[in-house]
């Protein structure tokens, strides 16, 4: 889909952890900030500080447009999706609240929720997905009660790529006045997401996966009509605003962005989003690669078993095993002998693996990006065949 740069003979299928390579514009934008601007945004009035502020603002505007948000001040930059989801979850849930999540969550969501439950702050319901990982929105509705404050759902599973019906769940939340928080770690940049049409109140995402920014970048998007005062800031400090006061600002984005931002990361993140905005067939590309891999693997690799939910659009995230082989052994051979990079194990999602029946052994995971090709899949198929034949 895009030409690779400087990756040599390495085949990189660990894109669900972080994408690599990035579009060349990403490094160029970061270098431009570090080499030519370098200043702290929003803290001083000189030209370079203003240029740094413009760099950050361009990021807010780009993300707001991409996810159908009117107010760019409702884009909060974070270090990653975990930061954003903690900000949302721990920011809105208070003592005595009830929260709902699913059995397909990543630890970025389930750990903060579990911790709040363990500390006696909240009650938590975990809605069970089917054996392929798909949630029934009516099960989410049934779990709601008068104390339900928020529903937190992983849009696309980082384990098997299963895509959840967030619009239906969001509509139910909106009807009941319940805050809808979405983890878009694996979906942002692949599937269209609209804060308005999907009824999302708070949307957490990493910059470094399918939005092609660098590691250390992420964002929390807050719906235009969501009252920011419902979020209790986890972090307070310098914002460059209201400097005569020791009170934390109560307006966005300042109330949630204390401390100097990762401007180089934001520059790269913005360039990544702008690069994929020029491509209109990303999901189609992933669909082709995933279908091709699964068709060949099922026909040609002995003891191949995958955990993809049937009949759902492809996110390009595939979990599989070679029966009789440990996943760590296969991953090691793929890396050492064939230069193929993938991830094995539980992928920070123990509940999802329990749902799919792959706990505690875990799976091998291939995650495809805009840079991967059919030829790379052919190489991987031959490697897996060779391993499976012993």
């Amino acid at each position: 889909m895009l030409n690779k740069n400087n990756t040599g003979s390495v085949i990189y299928f660990d894109n669900a952890a972080t994408t690599f390579p990035k579009p060349p514009e990403v490094a160029e934008a970061m270098l431009h900030y570090i080499r030519d601007i370098g200043a702290n945004p929003g803290r001083s009035g000189h030209k370079l500080a203003i240029a740094a502020g413009q760099t950050v603002f361009a990021g807010r505007r780009t993300l707001a447009e991409f996810f159908h948000l009117k107010n760019p001040m409702h884009v909060i930059f974070t270090g990653n999706a975990t930061d954003a989801l903690n900000m949302a979850i721990r920011g809105v849930l208070q003592t005595g609240d009830h929260a709902i999540t699913s059995s397909m969550e990543h630890n970025s969501t389930i750990r903060p929720l579990h911790r709040m439950q363990k500390d006696g702050i909240i009650d938590l319901s975990i809605v069970q997905a089917d054996s392929g990982g798909l949630l029934d929105p009516q099960d989410v509705r049934k779990a709601m009660n008068s104390k339900t404050k928020a529903v937190i759902i992983n849009h696309v599973s980082n384990v098997n790529g299963c895509i959840q019906p967030i619009r239906e769940i969001g509509k139910i939340c909106r009807e009941r006045g319940i805050i809808f928080i979405v983890d878009a770690a694996q979906s942002a940049g692949i599937f269209p997401i609209s804060m308005q049409e999907d009824f999302i109140d708070l949307l957490g995402m990493p910059g470094h996966k399918s939005l092609y920014g660098p590691t250390g970048s992420g964002a929390l998007l807050i719906a235009d009509d969501f009252d920011p005062k419902k979020i209790h800031p986890l972090k307070c400090g310098g914002t460059g605003s209201l400097s005569d006061s020791i009170e934390q600002p109560d307006f966005l984005p300042d109330m949630l962005e204390s401390g100097t931002l990762n401007v180089a990361g934001i520059a790269g993140f913005t360039a990544g989003v702008q690069a994929i905005q020029k491509i209109d067939s990303i999901q189609n590309h992933k669909q082709k690669l995933q279908s091709y891999f699964l068709a060949r693997a099922e026909n040609e690799i002995p003891n191949f078993r995958h955990f993809t939910h049937p009949n759902l659009p492809a996110a390009g995230v595939i979990s599989f095993i070679l029966e009789k082989f440990s996943v760590s052994e296969v991953a090691q051979i793929l890396s050492d002998k064939y230069n193929i990079m993938c991830r094995q194990g539980l992928h920070c999602a123990p509940l999802a693996h329990k749902t799919l029946g792959t706990f505690p052994d875990g799976t091998l995971r291939f995650g495809f990006s805009i840079f991967n090709t059919k030829e790379e899949i052919d190489t991987a198929i031959e490697a897996l065949k060779s391993i499976a034949h012993g």
Partner: protein, 75 residues
């Protein structure tokens, strides 16, 4: 003489100052960012400077675009 007079729009946050400057310029209202004059505010950031004659238009525009500002002062 009025043409030479300058005014500044002050904001609670530099994030809004940058947003305002981008939108005002995009809509044909010339302006620039300057450091917040100490006699007007203790904030450490920047504000938007424009010609005083454009003040009513700018104010109207910012209100319509929902870009919050603190106040507009003449220099």
């Amino acid at each position: 003489m009025d043409k030479l007079k300058k005014s500044v729009i002050l904001f609670h946050s530099t994030n809004y100052a940058i947003w305002a400057q981008n939108e005002l310029q995009a809509n044909g209202l010339p302006c620039k960012m300057i450091s917040v004059p100490r006699q007007l505010s203790s904030d450490c950031g920047y504000c938007v400077q424009m010609e005083t004659q454009d003040k009513p238009k700018a104010e109207q525009f910012l209100i319509a675009a929902n870009i919050e500002f603190d106040r507009i002062d003449d220099l």
